[in-house]
């Protein structure tokens, strides 16, 4: 199988494509393919030229940490959760997420996610003991990996813009539902950085590796508006 990877030495250097031959098992994940290539004695591209090791981020290797988010055959995905045998075609194309600055190869700097949440002061303050029957939704929303896949796929999310995307909406729903004394501020930020910019394309829903329903978060926030 041919593996085509978009490479970039560092933030300031130019990106280029490099092709590799993968001869291992196909009953495996993209993460395992990257390991297979990197753990060889020396790494050569398909034409036999020496190639620098492929840099990518990973931690858990079981889709619970969000580190390995990248674009795989055009689709934002987690490398450790994408199986070769389920992919159509003979070529595997790997690119870094396009909405975040590249650090090296497939590693991007996603610190804007954290910065945005801090900017809007997303915290509970005093906890509301009554969960309002929202346990299931709260539980799922709290599983957000902050991987950035929902931002990558969102037609409205543009880096550095005022619209903070689905992960922000979900986290705001969670924080809002748990907070006793900060609901008003949180709702204001929600309107400013989400509801005014979301066109409800909802591509974020199907891409989310933990199955968070942005629509439910939106519904809860909208509903609470009227209360």
């Amino acid at each position: 199988m041919v593996v085509k990877i978009k490479r970039q030495k560092n933030r300031d250097s130019k990106a280029y494509w490099q092709y590799f031959e993968y001869s291992g098992d196909v009953n495996t994940t993209v993460a395992a393919v990257l390991d297979f290539l990197n753990y060889s004695d020396d790494l050569y591209d398909i034409d036999g030229n020496y190639a620098p090791r492929i840099r990518w981020e990973c931690s858990c290797l079981q889709k619970v940490c969000g580190a390995c988010a990248m674009v795989i055959n055009g689709k934002p995905s987690l490398a450790c959760n994408t199986f070769l045998d389920k992919m159509k075609g003979k070529e595997l194309v790997l690119e870094p997420l396009s909405k975040f600055p590249v650090v090296a190869d497939l590693i991007t700097d996603r610190s804007i996610i954290d910065n945005n949440l801090r900017q809007v002061q997303l915290y509970i303050g005093e906890r509301d003991e009554n969960d309002g029957g929202l346990y299931e939704l709260q539980y799922t929303a709290a599983k957000c990996l902050k991987c950035g896949l929902c931002l990558e796929i969102c037609p409205n999310y543009i880096k550095g813009d005022n619209f903070f995307g689905a992960l922000f909406a979900n986290d705001t729903f969670l924080t809002h539902s748990l907070s006793k004394n900060r609901k008003k501020e949180l709702k204001r930020e929600y309107t400013k950085h989400f509801s005014s910019g979301c066109s409800k394309a909802l591509s974020c829903e199907s891409i989310c590796p933990t199955g968070i329903s942005t629509l439910s978060s939106i519904f809860s926030m909208e509903h609470s508006k009227r209360k």
């Binding site: 390991d35 090791r53 931690s59 610190s111 915290y123 509970i124 539980y139």
Partner: protein
Amino acid sequence: MMKKLIIVGSGIAGLTCAVECAAQGGSVVLVSPYVSERSQSVMAAGGINAALDTKGENDSILCHIEDTMRGGAYIADRKAVEGMCTAAPEIIKWLESLGTVFTRDEKGNIDLRAFGGQTHRRTAYAGASTGKQIVTALVRKVREYECRGLISRRLGMQFHSALINDGKCYGALFYNEKEYKTEALYADAVIMAVGGQNGLFGKTTGSLLCDGYAAGKLFYQGANLKNLEFIQYHPTTIETPQKRMLISEAARGEGGRLYYLNGDKRVYFMEEKYGERGNLMSRDIVSKCIYDAPSQVFLDISFLGKEKIKHKLNEVSDICDRYAGIDVLRESIPVYPSVHFFMGGLSVDRNHRTNIKHLYAVGECASMYHGANRLGGNSLLAAIYSGKSAALSAVNEPYEDRKPNFGTYISENERKISKTLSAESKFPAIYIKQELANIMNENLGITRTGDKIKKGIENIDYFLSISDRLNFDSSISPYQCYSLEGMIMLAKAVLMCAGERKETRGAHIRDDYPESRKELECSTVISYDEGNYKISFKEEV
């Protein structure tokens, strides 16, 4: 004056410590290479122990203490264990107040499940993602303090070394991955929360970010390490194309049964040997029994039914389905033990101070509560309790005014790192790390012998002898290169401790010394001084 603290690592221990330092009025810099969502803490699925006694089983803090001491084969510091178990119920309340959504039972109480080595149901949990739920809540609390200017987070920073002069720590040196350069940070105290030593064994059940480097480097710089030979093999892991993945103890806590096949007949060997609660013996015992079983061991949870599995063991069925193609409702899970947790680490006192003044260690990188074998559900508790204890001490301790000049030390190390960055050599550090893992897995398995350990040390010595002459591959992060030497040193220390403990205790099983020895009912402490590794045994008082 406001105390300034550096916390290295932002898993549950680092996050808790940051929150508590800020609550005590300290000013915190929380440093880690990645956000907390990437830390190993998010992987903890099973739960966290506290004698809440919501099941009317007459559980008590005393029972929790006894179970922890017995599970650890009586070498943990009893006073420290008492402190942790006593604080546990309050800790659960605190986590709830931060917004952790624990699973509740039909009466509305926090639900508790059975976990290995415990006499009562004592493990509180949040669905199938306890660690993740706690991390989410703590990150939010840290954010509150960030907004109030008491905590600042630094991402993209890899630990390089501590800034130590005359036995005192004044800060730490980091490699900034985003700026491609070293950076020194100074503080009144440095608190290490860098997690376990997974990297010594390559891919384990845990995170690849926990490589053991920081502990190895600090050892080189004079910090003592403790109980390194006690490495927990989790009894139930499955093979997947990526690594061996954990099947949480919750599967047995909820009723799952272990068996092997004798012809067509299922032999429930744990129940036969230990009775009704056999599947839930402590991990050291279950792992050894699986290791000794005459054929492949299976874990059956199919009979628990769809509903229970969906609500309580969703993560188990998901892992089996997705990564191993096993439908747990129809098939049993083939399991085998694998490296999972490190009882040993930086040696600390009850306030989590190392032997280097103003240097602390918390969470899995510190050795304190688990003795020779950790009980499931006790490490999240220890991560939180240790984070709080260290904060209390670090914020309130008196500090030096004088700051020595580290200029020469820093520029020397900067030079070394830039040499790596401009190296032409293709020698891959990744490859040597793989070799290191092979040596450790080969010579320090579930059961050990003096001969194998000796061979392991010889192999490690070879890599140590060449490590400072290697010119690494500049295409990987400098951290991947410079971390190698610290990891190799740590590996040697682990093997030496394992060689020195000539008995079987907890997770340290010696084929050549199968009995426990009363005179070794104490901790192993190893120190490094100018090339010499010195081991002593120390009773906790």
